[in-house]
């Protein structure tokens, strides 16, 4: 992860909006090959918008998105998938009336190498044995956690070099969240897949990722390695919920965020 390599993904001053509402206001970030990078932020901070802008679902008003040094701003989402960037959307979005198996094949839709697809299918089943057990069933019948596994697997089926992962912990039990995160880290370590992870569960994300950005009101206010982020006062208080108790046992008021 040396600095002189071209980063796999770079955002330069990206501004995106929903109609008149600016969701992200000048975001610049970069992801190096092989890293897990996380973007933390509260509801409405603009985390998902960043991912949607990268995968081409939203065209930014300003700024550019570079994939391996090439400008992919506003390209067709399908073209971006073919470049090797897969998006796992928030809330899973599996095809409920297709079988698990067919859902996975949908992920491989753009690929021609049947052998490769079969190999990946086997590997996905190895990551998540439950998917193999239920491969013939409609995806809509899976539990939330299994759907999340399926969505992640479907993204893997496109043989991406980079996965955009949007809130994998959404609606999952702590135990399942842990499992999913373990697999995410495993995918990264075993396959070398770069991962850009958007999360509200700061605790999990900071443990899994190498580097992190903190997004507030559509702007990045902090960036650092996760080790160092975990030690920052503001992160501890506002994202990890660890506040030093005051002289009284209970503290209700919030400190001012300083982001340093």
């Amino acid at each position: 992860m040396s600095g002189d390599q071209t980063p796999i993904l770079q955002l330069l001053n990206v501004e995106s909006s929903y109609g008149p509402i600016k969701a992200i206001r000048g975001v610049s970030l970069q992801v190096n090959a092989g890293e897990i990078v996380t973007v933390l932020g509260s509801n409405g901070a603009g985390k998902s918008t960043i991912l949607k802008t990268i995968s081409g679902i939203i065209e930014p008003r300003k700024g550019s998105v570079l994939h391996q040094g090439q400008d992919i701003t506003g390209q067709d989402p399908a073209a971006i998938v073919q470049r090797g960037v897969s998006h796992v959307p928030e809330g899973r979005e599996v095809f409920p009336l297709l079988s698990v198996h067919d859902n996975l094949l949908m992920g491989a839709y753009t690929r021609q190498d049947r052998d490769g697809v079969a190999r990946d299918m086997a590997q996905v089943y190895a990551y998540f044995p439950i998917l193999q057990e239920r491969s013939g069933q409609h995806a809509g019948l899976l539990s939330g956690g299994q759907q999340q596994m399926l969505a992640l697997s479907r993204a893997l089926m496109a043989e991406p070099d980079m996965i955009l992962l949007d809130e994998p912990s959404l609606g999952l039990s702590p135990k399942l969240t842990l499992e999913i995160f373990e697999i995410v880290v495993r995918i990264n370590r075993e396959r070398g897949t770069t991962i850009l992870l958007v999360e509200q569960n700061a605790h999990m994300a900071l443990n899994a990722a190498d580097r992190g950005y903190v997004l507030e009101n559509g702007r990045i206010v902090m960036e650092d390695s996760c080790e160092r982020l975990r030690e920052k006062d503001d992160i501890r208080e506002f994202y990890l919920g660890m506040k030093d108790d005051s002289v009284r046992t209970e503290r209700r008021w919030k400190k001012k965020k300083t982001w340093r």
Binding site: N13, R25, G26, S28, L29, G63, I220, R248
Partner: protein, 619 residues
């Protein structure tokens, strides 16, 4: 509707409106005179509420009785740690009406500073705003053996707290009401016993060097000062004031609270320091006293809005402000304004200038008063071009507010005006230091006879530490703080504030500190305006992530360089800034580098960022 060319109604008023030679006497007298008029307005759950003089008198009476029931004696000290609010003002008056001494503490102060101020002032009762401020007090109360009671304005979240030392503000009012019914009139007797020469308030100076010093003001000094203020700029019960600066600072305390107490102007409180821009527009004050930082902020918000407007709007603005400028120039040169220009100005106001005024919230303002720090003359001229008279006043904590003030009859931007009629102002013949003498000058610093002797000489002249000059019309001009003067290695005396103010006029720069004492050339540490520079970066596709990366980006450095170059153009070669460094942390009022009024502390900044300064002098 007044215009720059007819400012007759800004004359002062020399009659005494409310009798009384102490603040309590003045308050009871004013409340009796104005019983049903509204005095205070504040939002409760987002809706404006009003309190009449009678309401205020009742609350002060109950609070005062409450304090007496807690054993507060005449001359005891009580402190207030809160943001500006109705409760602050009423608590302050209740303390004074008990014959006690009131001492304000900045809400941004850390627990250790609260401890120092309470200890130094020997406070027995501490009023705090809410649970956040209460926690500071509780953290240090072990070191404050004299502190007996803590009164909390807002008890939200503290219902479960059972502490014999802590009580709610409402509870104190109730307690005082019951106590007062048993022994009516005790508070009034205490107020009547209060002497004009008694110590009334302690105002701690923000202390850019060393520990804060408590300036002592007597009732006589306060009463004399507010009566004096009204001879400079008259206000009355029809005026709306906005109360928003910290009340522990002399400007809002005397120029806001006590001046309104004397004149009957309505005090409207802002919700909190962050909502000032919205609150100005809601309140639309008719007399608006603020510090340069506020005026700079308003100006830059207009500049930003202008950049986002259409070319037609920009053209209209350029024309309108141009007409305003021509009028301002003629008025400043004391020339008559032709009727053609007046007609044009009416059109300009109708087309654009009235909207600019509304955007800021000064559309009803009869006058704007700037004080507490030097302001750029260009900024004053901009407000004059809008057609609103802006008058600069100069004074300090030790002079109980203004000692010199610009007169509406003759405005000279860049000068601080002639000496106010109620005190003497002169220059020291040798050092050119400005000296002030008069009943408004303070009694001395609490517990610091040496410092008092340094400040007040045997003839009663206060040595202000400001160096200045005076012109043929008697108008003073500050050249600098005495201790801030820079002598470069080349032996050239430089007064840093002139250059710094020129920089601060840029919307991209919030504050700057010039460096160069015994150095070959001048350098500057600059604090950027985050909002405006971020906006610049976005508009020009400059990538940045956090604040530090913003200050290191080449485009931002170039931008600030261009501002510095522009300022340099107005100064001689040796007075020019050769290099600068942008502060890379985002500072807030809680940080040690800033005074509570958000000015960079010169000495501290120079020490703390010494490595960066050294780097600017390495080739």
């Amino acid at each position: 509707m007044s215009n720059l060319w007819n400012l007759q109604d800004l004359q002062g008023n020399t009659e005494i409106i409310v009798a009384g030679d102490t603040i309590p006497a003045m308050f009871w007298q004013a409340a009796a005179q104005r019983a049903d008029q509204v005095w205070l307005r504040q939002k409760e759950l987002g809706i404006w509420r009003s309190w009449t003089w009678q309401d205020c008198a009742n609350t002060v009476q109950d609070l005062g009785h409450g304090l007496m029931s807690l054993g507060v004696q005449a001359h005891d000290r009580c402190a207030i740690l809160a943001n500006t609010s109705r409760e602050w003002v009423l608590s302050d008056l209740a303390i004074l009406c008990c014959g006690a001494v009131s001492n304000g503490i900045y809400p941004t102060d850390a627990a250790s500073q609260v401890q120092y101020l309470c200890q130094d002032s020997d406070s027995v009762v501490l009023f705090v705003e809410n649970d956040e401020q209460l926690d500071k007090a509780l953290a240090v109360r072990d070191q404050l053996p004299r502190l007996r009671h803590i009164v909390v304005f807002d008890m939200t979240g503290l219902q479960q707290l059972h502490d014999p030392m802590v009580m709610g503000w409402e509870a104190l009012v109730e307690r005082g009401r019951a106590w007062g019914q048993e022994q009516p009139g005790t508070l009034r007797a205490r107020s009547d016993a209060c002497q004009a020469q008694d110590l009334a308030i302690l105002v701690y100076t923000s202390g850019t060097t060393g520990k804060p010093k408590g300036a002592m003001h007597s009732h006589a000094g306060l009463v004399y000062a507010v009566r004096g203020f009204n001879t400079l700029a008259r206000q009355d019960a029809r005026d709306d004031r906005m109360c928003f600066l910290p009340l522990c600072h002399i400007v809002e305390r005397i120029g806001g609270e006590y001046h309104a107490l004397y004149t009957g102007a309505v005090l409207n409180f802002v919700e909190n320091p962050e909502t000032i821009p919205e609150n100005v527009r809601e309140i639309a004050p008719t007399v608006f006293v603020a510090v340069p930082r506020v005026w700079e902020k308003f100006y830059s918000s207009v500049m930003i809005a202008l950049k986002e407007s259409s070319p037609l709007q920009q053209m209209t603005y350029a024309w309108g402000i141009g007409v305003g400028q021509r009028i301002a120039e003629r008025v400043l040169a004391q020339q008559a304004v032709s009727w053609v220009l007046k007609c044009q100005f009416t059109l300009a106001r109708w087309l654009v200038l009235n909207n600019v005024r509304k955007l800021i919230g000064i559309h009803r303002a009869r006058m704007l008063i700037s004080g507490a720090a030097p302001i750029s003359p260009s900024l004053i001229k901009w407000y004059l071009s809008l057609g609103v008279p802006m008058l600069e006043a100069w004074g300090m904590t030790e002079t109980c507010g203004a000692s010199t003030a610009m007169t509406a009859a003759r405005i000279k931007p860049g000068s601080i005006g002639p000496a106010a009629g109620f005190n003497e102002v002169r220059l020291d013949p040798i050092t050119n230091e400005i000296l002030v003498r008069g009943p408004n000058v303070f009694m001395g610093y609490l517990n610091l006879p040496d410092k008092t002797a340094e400040a007040l000489d045997a003839d009663g002249w206060l040595h202000t530490g400001d160096v200045g000059e005076v012109d043929a019309d008697g108008y003073f001009r500050i050249t600098d703080r005495m201790k801030d003067i820079i002598i470069t290695a080349g032996g050239k005396n430089i007064t840093p504030s002139e250059f710094e103010n020129e920089l601060k006029f840029s919307p991209y720069i919030t504050d700057a500190v010039l460096i160069g004492d015994q150095r070959p050339y001048l350098t500057a540490i600059i604090m950027i305006d985050q909002d405006n520079v971020e906006k610049f970066a976005q508009d020009h596709d400059v990538p940045f992530s956090n604040y530090a990366s913003l200050t290191q980006s080449q485009a931002v450095l170039d931008l600030i360089q261009s501002v510095v170059d522009q300022a340099n153009a107005q100064f001689a070669r040796v007075e020019q800034v050769k290099k600068f460094w942008l502060l890379d942390t985002q500072l807030s009022a809680e940080d040690e580098e800033l005074t509570p009024t958000m000015k960079l502390k010169r000495q501290l900044v120079q020490k703390k960022y010494a490595p960066h300064i050294e780097a600017m002098y390495r080739s």
